[in-house]
Symmetry: C2
Subunit: 373 residues, 2 copies
């Protein structure tokens, strides 16, 4: 098994195009990872994702650990085999979900004790157990356990959480290095709230551990967009050129373009899939709400320039009817459309970087999005 590698092949301003080598295949960056919380990108199957051009998906360790549980997935050898997806999977550490979903959290240096949001059962996640779980999932890219803080947070709270996060990062890496992981990689996570000096300290400490990739965590947690963008820009600017930079949980299409412009390589976000289920569909001229009465008998596709299975065959009127009627097909078609939009956007950005015209692409994209349909 070749070692994990990442190479930046092209730049355009600060925007980068690269290639990441993982045991289950290459991933071309910048890349968007559809979120497959419970072993399925909601409403889609693996063939759909391949058709859409998804290179890598994200699985949620917290959710999978609770349901179906590691005993079941362990029997299949990996999450990949359980869900019949043979391309790479990145799993988060569960940190974010424990802090946002679970009940009765108790954080100690040891780890985080909590009660399941599903059945109230008690659990303890430690940096080590989270590595073991991700190993059992067969994650191609695993993430360290981190302490996630709400927004806004006091400086002292953020500083204390950062100390825990660093302690856990070191222990995560120790556990990871106990075995040959066959070319899979463990990424570090930069926390520090919206405080520049804490972000700087976080990067400094993590760089000393020399992870093969780094994520900016703790963003898009309720802060104003400018604050998110400033913190991301600072963080990505401090990270090494030769390692992939991952913006966790980001973002809107405009955010992805602005973050690639600031040197980000990887993204995941529930927005395209969750918003699809709420009737919001992304188009090259901004998002539309398919429930809008003006689409009642509109024979046009949602986006005439889109090649997704929904736009190729169905009208806005039909998609509106399905959505209003809460038909299951609605969620599927809207999801196919939104993911197609996101994945196509990544392709377009990559091409613009390779051809060194990213700034012009970005300007044109943002102008059209602001224009509206």
């Amino acid at each position: 098994m070749p070692a994990f590698s990442f190479h930046v092949t092209h730049t355009s301003g600060r925007a980068r195009a690269g290639v990441m080598k993982l045991p289950r295949g290459e991933v071309k960056t910048p890349v968007f990872m559809p979120v497959g919380t419970l072993g399925t990108v909601k409403s889609l199957d693996p063939d759909d994702l391949v058709s859409l051009g998804a290179q890598i998906i994200l699985g949620n360790t917290y959710h999978l650990y609770l349901r179906p549980g590691m005993e079941v997935i362990g029997k299949f050898g990996s999450l990949h085999r359980f869900m019949a997806w043979d391309r790479p999977i990145l799993t988060d550490s569960g940190g974010f979900q424990v802090f946002s979903l679970a009940d009765l959290k108790t954080i100690t240096d040891e780890g985080v004790a909590f009660r399941s949001h599903i059945d109230g059962s008690g659990h303890l996640l430690t940096p080590e157990s989270v590595i073991d779980i991700q190993d059992a999932l067969g994650s191609d890219i695993a993430m360290v356990l981190d302490e996630c803080i709400p927004y806004p947070a006091e400086y002292e709270r953020a500083e204390k959480a950062l100390a825990t996060t660093f302690l856990w990062a070191r222990r995560s890496q120790d556990r990871w290095r106990e075995a040959d992981r066959g070319g899979r990689a463990l990424f570090g996570i930069v926390q520090g709230g919206m405080f520049p000096d804490l972000r700087r300290r976080a990067v400094e400490e993590l760089l000393a551990l020399d992870f093969p990739g780094y994520a900016a965590g703790g963003l898009s947690v309720g802060e104003p967009r400018q604050e998110m963008m400033d913190t991301a820009e600072l963080t990505f600017g401090l990270l090494p050129e030769d390692k992939p930079r991952y913006g966790m949980g980001l973002g809107r299409p405009e955010d992805l373009v602005d973050l690639v412009d600031r040197g980000a390589d990887m993204f995941d976000c529930v927005m395209p899939t969750r918003n699809a289920r709420n009737g919001q569909m992304f188009t090259s001229r901004g998002a539309i709400n398919i429930a809008n009465a003006k689409y009642k008998d509109d024979p046009r596709p949602v986006d005439a320039s889109c090649t997704c299975p929904a736009c190729r065959r169905f009208s806005r009127a039909y998609l509106r009817h399905l959505y209003i009627s809460r038909e299951l097909l609605s969620y599927r078609l809207n999801t196919l459309h939104n993911l197609c939009f996101y994945l196509t956007l990544m392709d377009k950005m990559r091409r613009a970087i390779v051809e060194d015209r990213f700034a012009a692409f970005r300007r044109g994209f943002l102008d059209r999005m602001a224009e509206g349909g």
Copy 2:
């Protein structure tokens, strides 16, 4: 446009194989029509249905008339174009739904006044308006408006409803004959409750009107299976050899086999699709409930002999996990499986009839179904 035609090409005992010619294509019988209530077979799109081998689907006039309404579908010229399905569609008359779903029904000779189950709005459906609606839907096979009675029903009630049904059948046909319907067909519906003499009278009266096809209505409304089977057998036995015989709303896999054995050609039923959404999956050794704890880590497909997209790729454990987690993909995969089971069953029956070994096929099928997995 060639005229509607139906030819029985093979028989095996009373079981028949035939070909029905419709404007949008040929339909080989015996045939099962997946139910596409609101312009979608729930969770599936037209490509899925083509992949499964569906030759014709059913649309519900009552539901489509209320949502999205005829103004919207009218703008597209047909239900086919609205939902992007270019094979034949049979639409029911809405009679069954008005009587089972709508509020404040008032039946007069004129028609049936009711309030929508969605928003309480008032509507009147008449034999004529129901023909006009089905014409606007572009139905390849339309059905006459009939009065549906609950089970059990008093003889007098059934007799009175039958008189109304006959009056409406005649008026439906009059309206149908006002225009050239381009090779599309209007079928009559035999009612009469579970009363043999009323069923006989119904057939006699309808035959005088000379419809191109006949349905047995008012079955599977709560009566014991033997009573359903006896009434269906009586009805199909009275219908002409050279016209298609349609068992409306029927039935379980075992019912389809027993009804083909009694000379039925066409079926529709929500069972494969609705039960899929409730976790019941049909297999060659009987139905299973995928929620069952014994499938928790079962790596086998639901049915090793099944070629559907769910059985080709996924384990019982994965399908159970999706179902337990209420994942949208669960409903889709279960539906694909159950419809594949139904449509494959029809294919197998047809082949057995063509090869004149239907009795042996039936015995083998029913034995295996009773055996259990």
